[in-house]
Amino acid sequence: MQMLRVAIDDLTPWKGGGYGMFSTVDAGGARRIRVQLDCERAVTAVAPRDASLELVSNLPSDRQLQRYAESLSHVVWVEVDDPEAGRAASSARPALRPWRRGLDPIPRRVAVPRTVRVTVYRPRYDVDLAEIQYVPLKSVEVPGPALTEVEARVGGRLEMWRAHLKR
């Protein structure tokens, strides 16, 4: 059963009760998730570290990935100064992370993407070249939220990124 899920749904061999741990570099924790928001230009976002990220890394089945991307499409994305996003920003690309109601200050600028794309990458190690690569495993794109939805979540009118004001 576990082997079938590995073959069909790209479950990592490390999980699912099949005792495939320590057999491959393709562990769930070694996979990488790229979240791209299509705003006025494509920007990457820091996926929140939670149980759903762990689940979709271990088991990126079509259904799980779709569900995960849809959950991210309802997130209010803001620019922030945190160490993780800061590293991304240093590569001259803005990185966004979810706004947390009650924990973060009310944001003035939010990104309201047209689409949210989630891509799962798996690691591959070439033992002859001693080279580590990440290869795309699966990707899904879902529509972004409506402006009204984001405003309702934040609780007020916001300065949106220009492209979204044109929508």
Binding site: L11, P13, W14, K15, G16, G17, G18, Y19, G20, M21, F22, S23, T24, V25, D26, G28, R32, I33, R34, T44, V46, A51, E54, L55, N58, L59, R87, A88, S91, R93, A95, T119, Y121, R124, Y125, D126, V127, L129, A130, E131, I132, Q133, Y134, V135, P136
Partner: protein
């Protein structure tokens, strides 16, 4: 009778009956390593403490029923995020429940043997069919990048710390570029390695797959082939003492030692003692020996300087 044999005989007798000792060790295992959220940890801690204090209570199937149910309902919905040994723990608690209900020590012995055999069979199959195990890629990558193996790699191969740091930085940069940057990983990063690491990786790869395969075969075939029956305990102990000294997944090690103890025949007293000793020794592997030794060396150096 010498004092030596006297102590051995006393300890071996004290380890009877199997069901009582196995249930006690199971409670220790669950108290320390069942993990999960507070909704599991708190009731498990209460049950384990109660069961350890009241020995007769832990002989009752009614005591084991809520434990087995709790572990099962915690593991099943989270099958794709929980570690494999947590799944095995839940199955083991069900086996203990069954044994207590039927008062069947022999049944638990057989269950333990099959659980060890099947777990190692699946582990071996995965290592054989995985595209990056038998060629040494997984072990080499693990030796180069896994924090748990850092001290071992440096100690056995003399891998310099500056190359180790450079590898970790390369990996971190690549990871960041995949998640946030333009470069989505296709370029890759070449890691620093050593001929000694490559040779070590090949040795560990074949040692692991052959040992795990041998454990699977001897445990599953011990009922039919006499030599398998004789060899199985030594192989399992060898695995416990070599694997967990490096990969310190002590929860799994304890479960394996406990099941190893339980599946021993009544006349295999030395093996039973050895599994209990392994149960204790696994904790010693958690000591950060590199720090302790460097502290000791530091004390001697300071003493010499004064």
């Amino acid at each position: 009778m010498t004092p030596h044999t006297g102590i051995r005989s006393y300890v071996a007798t004290a380890l009877e009956p199997t069901l009582a000792v196995a249930s006690g060790l199971t409670l220790m295992l669950l108290a320390l390593y069942s993990g999960g959220s507070w909704t599991t940890r708190v009731p498990i801690a209460v049950f384990c403490t109660t069961g350890l204090v009241f020995a007769t209570l832990r002989q009752s199937p009614w005591f084991w029923l809520p434990i087995a149910l709790l572990l099962s309902v915690t593991v099943l919905p989270n099958l794709y995020t929980r570690d494999n040994h947590k799944v095995l723990m839940a199955l083991w608690s069900l086996a203990v429940l069954g044994a207590m209900a039927a008062k069947d020590e022999e049944g638990l012995r057989i269950a333990a043997r099959w659980m060890i055999g099947l777990a190692f069979l699946f582990a071996t199959v995965w290592k054989v069919i995985a595209p990056d195990f038998l060629n040494g890629a997984f072990i080499e990558f693990t030796l180069l990048t896994d924090n748990r193996f850092r001290g071992f790699t440096s100690w056995t191969t003399g891998f310099p710390s500056d190359l180790d740091i450079a590898n970790r930085e390369s990996l971190s940069e690549l990871s960041d570029s995949v998640r946030f940057g333009n470069d989505t990983g296709a370029q890759g990063k070449v890691l620093n390695t050593f001929p000694a690491i490559q040779a070590l990786a090949v040795c560990i790869t074949w040692y692991t797959v052959l040992l795990e395969g041998a454990i699977a075969v001897t445990f599953l075939g011990s009922g039919r082939v006499a030599i398998f029956k004789r060899a199985r305990n030594a192989l399992c102990l060898m695995f416990l003492l070599t694997t967990y000294a490096v990969a310190t997944v002590i929860g799994f090690g304890w479960l394996l030692a406990l099941m190893g103890y339980t599946q021993c025949e009544s006349h295999e007293r030395q093996s039973r003692l050895a599994f209990v000793a392994a149960f204790l020794l696994l904790q010693v592997f958690l000591v950060p020996w590199d720090l302790v030794l460097s502290d000791i060396v530091g004390v001697f150096k300071d003493g010499g300087a004064q």
